[in-house]
Amino acid sequence: MNQILEQISICIQKGKVDSKMAYPPEMKGMPGADELTKAALDEGFSANDILSGALIHGMGIVGDLFREKRLFVPQVLMSAMAMKAAMVHLKPFFSSGELKQKGTFIIGTVAGDLHDIGKNLTAMMIEGAGWRVIDLGTDVKTERFLEVLNENGNAVVGLSALLTTTMEQMERSVKAIREHFPENRIVVGGAPVNSEFAKRIGASLYAPNPQVAVEYINSI
């Protein structure tokens, strides 16, 4: 990998946003994902090279380490912040059409549940993998999922639940989505959910962690 792309990838992995950020101590004062992405564009790297060769690469490593429990949520969030700082420079290339997202992922925590950490992490990792993410937030009614699916025909949809008592709501939402959009893929996750439950309610996949969701939707 080219040196500057590798540096950007390392910034993503370490969560180094910019030169002002004191963390990590060994990179204090050094440029972060923000400055390096700009520099890479100035050096003539295409937006696509930066996105796939540095940002998605870096976030992929973060996702693997998170799955292996070698990184924890705060570190993933720092990586997501670095990714966000880099993406600011790439945004115009999405608008111009030079960069294309892999697809659309609609995500939300089901009705009756306000928990959002797992959902937010998954949304960030999926965005970091090059997807457009529509985050519907928490306490999302089934009708809202259907409404947004109507506007985004081929989207993959992700549902999260943390309460055992809202698993029933997850089941209702998945069944309604299946009924109206039989071809769309549905990913479910959350602490009380498991693959047996996912299969029983008609979801396409149970994702025990964000990286499993990323790998699955990338394989579609």
């Binding site: 963390y23 549940d113 055992t164 008592t165």
Partner: protein, 227 residues
Amino acid sequence: MIFRQVSFGDLKIQRSSIIRTLFEGEFYGGEVEYIASLTDIVFSEFSAGISPSYGYEILDIQSIEDVSFKTEGVRFNCGKRVCNAVVGAEKVALFVATSGPGFEEIVRRRADDILFCYIADCVGSEIPEMLNKMIERELLDTFEPQGNRVSKPYSPGYCGWSVKEQNKVFSLLPSNPCGVQLNSSALMTPIKSISGLYAIGREVREVDYGCSVCNMKNCIKNEHNYR
């Protein structure tokens, strides 16, 4: 209703326990130091901007069935596990505890800083739990000397007790207790709030939360984290 307002400092939330939660007990070097410094900022903002409170009402139980009990003419369909905790009780303490609106204001102000918001969320989740411990202490101080026992707290949304039953809890408390409101899904605002019951009586038994379907290590309902 008995009502108390406390300061964030009164809750005695330990920075070390927050760090342990954030890193799932696995400690590293530089990251921990950096996150600890951000946690200090969260503590400082919460100390200045949060006014936690709690309140509870002690009510006589009228009847107990297999999966429900009745108080003040309201039947709570709390499910078998919670009902097992209520069996043997003569009274219930229906409670609400909340961080107050300050939590959401701080998080809203810092919305762009997802790491701060995450740490704030972890600290914020501790607030109702620590308030719960205060309620429990008060109940024990009041009822234990008369030979009564006090159960663990049970909340709608957990242990098979539907979250919608939160409406019934609130129906027996003053309007917007501690400033907490329910939305159409029976969820509370401010979000860092908790409601539920304690069973009180001479024959109250210890009943596990029984969260066998859930693997959340840090959940307060996890037996290892309680008491």
